[in-house]
Symmetry: C2
Subunit: 338 residues, 2 copies
Amino acid sequence: MSKPPKMTDIAAAAGVSPMTVSRAFRRDASVSARTREKILKIAEETGYVFDSTASNLRSQRTGFVAVTIPSLNNANFADTVRGLNDVVQEAGLQILLGYTNYDVLEEERLIQQLLQRRPEAIVVTGGHHTDRAHRLLKSAGVPVIETWDIPEKPIDFAVGFSNADAMERLVAHLHDTGAKRMVFIGGDDNGDTRGADRRRGFVKAAERLGLPYELVSLGPAPVSMREGARAMAGALDSGAAFDAAVCVSDLAAFGALTECQRRGVSVPEDLIIAGFGGFDIAEVATPSLTTVDAHSHEIGRRSGELLVSLLRGQTDGPSPQQITLIEPTLRVSDSTSR
Amino acid sequence: MSKPPKMTDIAAAAGVSPMTVSRAFRRDASVSARTREKILKIAEETGYVFDSTASNLRSQRTGFVAVTIPSLNNANFADTVRGLNDVVQEAGLQILLGYTNYDVLEEERLIQQLLQRRPEAIVVTGGHHTDRAHRLLKSAGVPVIETWDIPEKPIDFAVGFSNADAMERLVAHLHDTGAKRMVFIGGDDNGDTRGADRRRGFVKAAERLGLPYELVSLGPAPVSMREGARAMAGALDSGAAFDAAVCVSDLAAFGALTECQRRGVSVPEDLIIAGFGGFDIAEVATPSLTTVDAHSHEIGRRSGELLVSLLRGQTDGPSPQQITLIEPTLRVSDSTSR
DNA sequence: GTGAAAGCGCTAACAA
DNA sequence: TTGTTAGCGCTTTCAC
C-alpha cells in the first residue's frame, strides 16, 4: 500500500507538466483533447483524487458557502437550505452548514468557526446577532446574506419578509371573518426572533382592531406539535373565552388542532385555528389549516441566485438590490372558514 | 482598507515567531500564559481570523466529516444528522453535508466531490452504492460508516438495523391483533432501498403468515403525506377489501389516515393503519399512529461516537465492532388498537 | 517555552 | 497549447 498519487505523479505518468494536469481538470482550460483524455485516463486508473485543500490555499478560493440556520429539524429551514443548495451546487459551490439552536451566542461561535474555513459567502438566518458576530460578518470580506427577516439595516443583503407584517395581515383576515377574541400561541422570546416578530405583529393588529386577546407561551423554541397541543389544553382549561387561536407555526397549530379534536371542540365551528409557515401539515390536516406560506424554498433559491451572481462578479447587469422581498402568501383554508 | 492580517503579522506585532502564535491558538500547546494572552489580545484587536485552508494543507488534517443523506426534508435523516453533528462538533469536526435525492448516481457524484475536500471520515446512508462509489469509498483511506441499513458486507462500519426484519415484526403484530387482509403503501424501488427492504419484509411476513395482501405504489421517493392520501384514495376506490394498511413511512400513513377521515372510514374500527419511522406526527395524530421507531437520532449519535473514537485512534480500548445494531422499537398505538 | 527552516499540493503569473 | 518559477499561510521537524 503506497501513498496516494498527487498531481505531479499524474504529470510524470502522462509525460506532461503538473500545470497541464491542473488545466486538464478544469473545464474551460486550454488543453488539447488528446492530452486531456490521456491525463483523465491515467488519473482514473491510478485512483487519483484531486486535493482541494491545496487548491484552496493557492487559489485563495474555497468554493464554500457558510450557512447558519436555527434548526435542522424544521422543515421551513430545511427547505431554505435545499433551495439554496440546488442553486449553489450548480455553480460548483459546497455548503458548510451549522445550526444555532435559536441561540445568538451559539451563532457567534459558529460564525467564527465557519469564517476560518474561508467561505466565499455567508448566509445567516435572521438579522439579530451579537455585536461580535455582527463585527465578524461585516469584516469577513465576503458577501453576507441575511434571510427570513428584513433587518432595519442589512449588513450586505437580505432575502426575506416582515414576519410582523405578515402576521398582521393574517389577524386582519381573521377579524374580517368574524373572530372576536383571540389567543396567540407562541414560544418564548429568547432566540426565536421570527417568532417574537410574529407575536408583535399579532399584538399590534389586535390592538389596532380593538380585539381582546391573550398570549399563551409555549416555552423556548423550537416549538413542536406536542407543545402546541399542550398549550391549547392549557388555554382551554384556563376557562378563558376565545373563538380564534393564532399559532406561531403550523406545527403548533396542528398540535392545537388535535387537542381540540380530542376534546370534542369543533374546528372551525367552535374555534378557528391558524398557523404560520406553510408546512406540508397545514395542507394535509383535517380540517386543513389556514397559514401564511413563507415560501421557504424560494427564500433559499433567491439567496443562492443572488450569491452566485455576486461571486461571478457580474458587473454588466444591474447591481443587485440590497433587499429581496419574498412576499408571503396568506392561504385561507378550512380551519378558519365557518 | 488593507489586507487581512495573517499569522506572521500577529507574530511580528507580538514580538514572537509565527510558530509561537500557531501554538498559542491550540489548546494543549506549550506556550506561557503571558505570551498566549498577549497573542490572543493582538489577534482580537487586529481582527485576525485563523486560516484553516493553510492549516489543512500543511497538517494534512481538515476536520471534515463528509455525510450523504437521501433528503434534507425528511425528519428521520435530519435527526440522524443532528445526532451526528452534536457529537462530532464537540470533537471539533465540521460536517460536510450532501444529499442524493435517493439516487445512487447522484451519490457517486457527491462522494467523489466530497472526497476532494479530504474529509477524515465519511458517513453515508444505506449500503447500496454504484460500483464506482464503492471503490471510491474503499480506497478513500478514511473510515467509512454506512447507516440506516446493515449491508451484507460493510465497507468498514455500519450503524443501523434491518428494515426488512423490523417490518416483519410489525406485520406479525398486526396479524396477532386480527388483521386479515393487508395493503402495503410504499414508493417505487428506484433509489429508496430502505423502502424496498421494508416492502420485502412486508411480503415475506404476509406470505409466512398466509395473509392475503396487495401492494400499492406511491411513485418514486420521497413519499409525502399528500401521496399517502392519494394512495389510500386509490386503494379504497379500487374496491379491494382490506382491513389493514401498512405504510412505508409515518408521513404516508398520516396522509392515508386523513383520507380515511375525509371519507368517513373509521380508524381503527373499519381499518387499521400503521406507519414506519417514529416521526413526531405518529404521536400527535388522532388517532395516534402505530409505528416502528427507527431511533434516527441515536443512529447519528452512535455513528458520531464511533467515528470520534476511530479518529482519536484509541488503541487502548476494545477495537470497535464492525456492526452497531440499533434495534428499532415497535410503538403500538391507537391506529391499530381495536 | 521558543525559534528556524522547510514544505504540504496545488495554481497565479509569466513566458514560450 | 504547454511549461517554469514561485508561493498561498500555515505546521512539521528539529534544534536550543
